[in-house]
């Protein structure tokens, strides 16, 4: 029978990962040959989850996609060489897994199934907050759909996940100028969309 490791829940991942934080590249691992998997999971689970959600993985499939990412991380963590931040490496794994997911998903048209319902986390928030979150998520998705592929990727990594321009440029293999141009364009799309939405909402309030 296969045995399942039973580590306790790591409440304080920093105690394993170290609390050194580089403004450019995020938390750094303490010296050691291989980062401890559970600590990596605890620290980066929210990042992987949000990245998948923002890249369009429907709520019903997100558990599986996130799990796939960490299965790969589990297998490959020992080979992590530490030449870039762990987060950058993880984002690369995410992108590969997502690419596989898209390939498997095939040409299923978006908007056809329950997969496309916007879901938000359930932690006992009130109706007003739930409504605000739902609107914000839908607005974010709508505006990101107006961006180009690269703009969207840059926007997610830089604005939502707060990765540095250096990290993202390195990960996407584009130069920093290109990245900044895409980021500027993405911000313009987002600013304009939010302004338009606000104006229409204000107009609705008057009615």
């Amino acid at each position: 029978m296969a045995t399942v490791p039973t580590p306790p829940l790591q409440e304080d991942a920093e105690s394993v990962l170290g609390n050194e934080t580089d403004a450019e590249t995020g938390p750094r691992l303490r010296l050691g040959p291989v980062p401890e998997f559970r600590a990596v999971y605890e620290t980066y689970f929210p990042f992987v989850w949000r990245y998948a959600a923002n890249r369009g993985v429907p709520p019903m499939a997100i558990d599986d996609v996130v799990q796939e990412v960490f299965v790969v991380v589990h297998h490959r963590l020992a080979s992590f060489e530490g030449r870039s931040s762990l987060r950058t490496w993880l984002a690369g794994v995410c992108r590969n897994v997502l690419r596989d997911y898209v390939r498997k998903r095939g040409n299923q048209k978006a908007g056809d199934s329950l997969d496309d319902q916007v879901e938000i986390r359930s932690d006992g928030i009130g109706p007003a907050e739930a409504l605000e979150q739902k609107v914000a998520v839908e607005l974010l998705d709508e505006l990101m759909s107006q961006m180009t592929e690269l703009q969207r990727e840059v926007f997610i990594l830089c604005e939502i996940e707060q990765l540095s321009a250096v990290e993202v440029a390195d990960m996407l293999e584009v130069n920093e100028n290109t990245l900044r141009t895409r980021l500027r364009a993405a911000r313009q799309v987002f600013n304009a969309g939010v302004t338009r939405h606000r104006a229409k909402r204000a107009w609705g309030d008057r009615g």
Binding site: V4, F45, A53, V71, V93, V102, V118, A128, L172, D205
Partner: protein, 240 residues
């Protein structure tokens, strides 16, 4: 350099919070992950089906690890393939759980079965920390963000109405809130926000002390067991 406007930043923060997973999500996925790793480390469709169907239901419960281990043993002895086939191909009925009996951390196992996940990338070249990342053109997954079913702009009037109803209740006018909720139901009978409206109606009825009517209004909401509104309902007069 163009920066995000403050209101745009605010929208982004709210959306980011909304998409940040809960502790229950973290534990559920970890339990399934460890089971998958223990089953061979590669999430074949069978393994994926098994984890989604059985192990996913263990999430959010105490002694998660013990249960995961027991589940793995059960799956192994009963025959992974047969079980997974049934779980994967068979129909999945939603689990009905009484409102008051359900906790605030919903499980994700009894909703529609998702498409099988992508095969793991273990055999594929992975982005190494150095230079193995593929080029942008080939690497970026061609996934567009999920489009909203209804455009945000088209929802402004509806939102406005719901907001007025919420404000009326907050201002101590539950009758007015009910009136606006009725108006919303008439104008938008197929609204995506019917759950928010009905929750508001339940709360307003509770404010008025009309517990029986509140319970009747809450009845359809019990099937939304994965809704974030559940905890709100549980804390209201219908959940006590």
């Amino acid at each position: 350099m163009v920066e995000l406007y403050p209101e745009a930043r605010k929208v982004l923060e709210v959306a980011r919070d909304a998409r940040t997973p809960s502790r229950a999500d973290r534990e559920r996925v970890f339990a399934s992950l460890m089971a998958t790793v223990a089953l061979g480390g590669v999430a074949t469709p069978s393994a994926a089906a098994a984890k989604t169907g059985l192990l996913g239901k263990l999430a959010g419960q105490s002694a998660l690890w013990v249960k995961a281990a027991v589940s793995v043993a059960l799956i192994s002895t009963a025959g992974v393939s047969a079980y997974a086939y049934v779980r994967y191909h068979g129909p999945r009925a939603p689990t009905e759980v009484p409102l008051a009996a359900h906790g605030t951390a919903p499980l994700a196992g009894s909703v529609a079965l998702p498409a099988p996940p992508a095969a793991p990338s273990a055999q594929e070249p992975l982005p190494s920390a150095s230079a193995a990342a593929p080029s942008v053109a080939s690497a970026l997954p061609n996934v567009a963000p999920t489009p909203a079913r209804q455009t945000v702009d088209g929802r402004s009037a509806e939102l406005s109405l719901l907001r007025r109803a919420h404000e009326a209740r907050r201002a101590g006018q539950p009758e007015r809130a009910l009136e606006l909720a009725r108006e919303h139901a008439q104008k938008y009978p197929h609204s995506q926000m019917w759950a928010e409206r009905e929750t508001l109606r339940v709360l307003a009825l509770c404010d008025l002390g009309r517990v029986d009517a509140a319970r009747r209004s809450a009845a359809p909401l019990q099937y939304l067991w994965s809704s974030p509104l559940r905890a709100t309902l549980n804390a209201s007069c219908v959940g006590k």
